[in-house]
Symmetry: C2
């Protein structure tokens, strides 16, 4: 820091000006999975009740990737606005030794427009995505679920497992990845963290059959969880598919199950639902509910122990603003004071 700029750093007091700066580790330290889930549930509830204005998306394509902006307004303890800019450059790892996804979330007060915080977007994305899975599992997975499978042990996997453990208590966790090394590292790290035995598996079909909860968080471009693998009563969360080329779940599985989406319109374009529709396996009227309708009590959640329920998760800016606002609230409560006065 030099003399010219250091004065713009503020030791934030209550009500003082300045925009909080929060890194990935700050976000992960401040936002518990439970608090994130509560905020995300509220976002879905408001969406279902027509209380949240529709979120917006803006994408620009670069030569080797793209920039994706998701923005929304949501009223929690007060009205918030958040705009998340995610850069997605798939060749970053091999070419530049950088993460595929990088970015920041700008959180503003939606009464005055003041920029409240700028924070890492990757941690927000992982936490809010996992929070949606956990909220779905809370309403849609059997309460006596004893085994859970995490399929895909990349960046999303730890947050998915942590959030799930807030709503269900499986005694056995299975971890699967095409890259066995990744599954081993995940099992070791999360086993140590949670104190639960995590077993890596190579026989995916068998692991699916033995699991009451299946979470897929991969970058697959073709389905690998088939209808035949899944036993009655299972809850399956398809988390990976978030563009029109990605797919994890068999169209026949979606057609044969009770299907809940995060946003049906969006899932019909970029989710696993998109592929089930394209394959002619089902129509949009075959969707049971959006998650918000379940949370708000407008549509029934699980009604029998035998029904297989799928959650098609594609992600919305409403989750981002919910998670970012929750982080901000914790940061202010906890006295975080690393801030920068952009308008100084």
């Amino acid at each position: 820091m030099n003399d010219g700029t250091v004065s713009n750093f503020t030791n934030l007091r209550a009500g003082a000006a300045g925009t909080l700066l929060l890194s990935r580790s700050d976000v992960e330290r401040l936002l518990t999975p439970d608090a994130c889930m509560a905020a995300v549930e509220e976002a879905f509830r408001q969406h279902a009740l027509g209380k949240a204005p529709p979120p917006g998306i803006l994408s620009l394509h670069a030569k080797d990737g793209g920039f994706h902006i998701k923005a929304a307004i949501l009223t929690l303890d007060r009205p918030y606005f958040a705009a998340k800019t995610n850069a997605n450059f798939p060749q970053n790892g091999p070419r530049h030794g950088l993460p595929t996804i990088q970015g920041v979330v700008v959180l503003c007060d939606a009464v005055t427009g003041q920029p409240l915080a700028v924070m890492d977007s990757m941690s927000i994305t992982a936490l809010r995505t996992a929070a949606a899975t956990a909220a779905a599992a809370k309403y849609l997975a059997r309460t006596d679920s004893r085994a859970a499978l995490i399929s895909g042990c990349g960046d999303q996997a730890p947050a998915q497992l942590r959030a799930l453990l807030g709503v269900r208590c499986p005694a056995r966790i299975y971890a699967y990845d095409q890259d066995a090394e990744k599954a081993l590292m995940f099992a070791a790290a999360l086993g140590a963290e949670t104190g639960l035995p995590i077993t890596t598996v190579s026989d995916l079909a068998r692991a699916v059959a033995e699991s009451d909860i299946v979470i897929t968080c991969t970058t697959a471009r073709g389905y690998f969880i088939t209808r035949e693998m899944v036993q009655p009563g299972t809850f399956v969360a398809g988390v990976g598919a978030d563009n029109e080329n990605k797919q994890e779940l068999d169209p026949a599985l979606l057609a044969a199950s009770k299907l809940v989406t995060d946003l049906t319109e969006q899932c019909a374009v970029i989710g696993d639902l998109h592929h089930a529709l394209a394959a002619g396996a089902m129509t949009r009227s075959g969707v049971h509910a959006e998650l918000g309708e379940i949370v708000a009590g407008l549509k029934p959640a699980r009604t029998t122990e035998e029904e297989t329920i799928i959650f098609d998760s594609t992600g919305t800016a409403l989750q981002d603003v919910a998670a970012a606002a929750a982080v901000y609230g914790r940061a202010v409560e906890g006295g975080e004071r690393t801030a920068f006065s952009f308008n100084a």
Copy 2:
């Protein structure tokens, strides 16, 4: 700052990780009007030559205002992406003692997606808007312009005058505002800064008639510069109108003049052109050129001393990314080191 977060501040070295943080005063100190104009000219030139991908806009409405995101990609010394989030809350002053417009620009490398800098958006907006006026004046105002009028002495006015003085040398400057106090303050401050005599005026029509260059930067919602006021040979830059309700220039003035837009499509929706079209005073085919076409030499600039030329300025994200990249370049050259590692 507490122990948990202070470690995320980086003393940036060449190539080191971290996102530069730049406040309003940093931006104003680092980015000279000339450097900004060169970058903005290049942005318009690339737009005219079809080398810049189309910029994007996303707006969300809040109860007392709105959030406007403008994003674009532009290749200068390297490819850059910028997303500007501006909160616009017109009641902020009286209600909360806050500026009407607040926000930040997120600048990224468009090869890897890395967030290079987060900076104040108000200073970027003022500088890039003034740079477009100056670029237009460079090609469209008479070289012997001796008097210039700044009409509207708000936040935009100082940057407009500073940028203009980089391309023309008027011996007399007039300042007009509905609020005479504002004009006096502007005249005193900019007079001291530039060493030029700045005269406040209350007779707008007379000041317009005596000026070779007229810049309007107000929030007017009806035109106040009429065709009758403007002498042949004048260059008029209409800078204030940037939404469909704002208007500064008489439709008859536009119809009778050589009209240059920043982006014709956009001016036809939110610029003074919009009102001239709506009034039936002219058609779109009456637009002489976009600024980029003039800069790139695809269309003629001023060809006679007598022609009156209007520049209709509405603002584009291409200007934002040009200005933000220019600031960033200066900051890196100058050894600015105030940075935050969001992904730490």
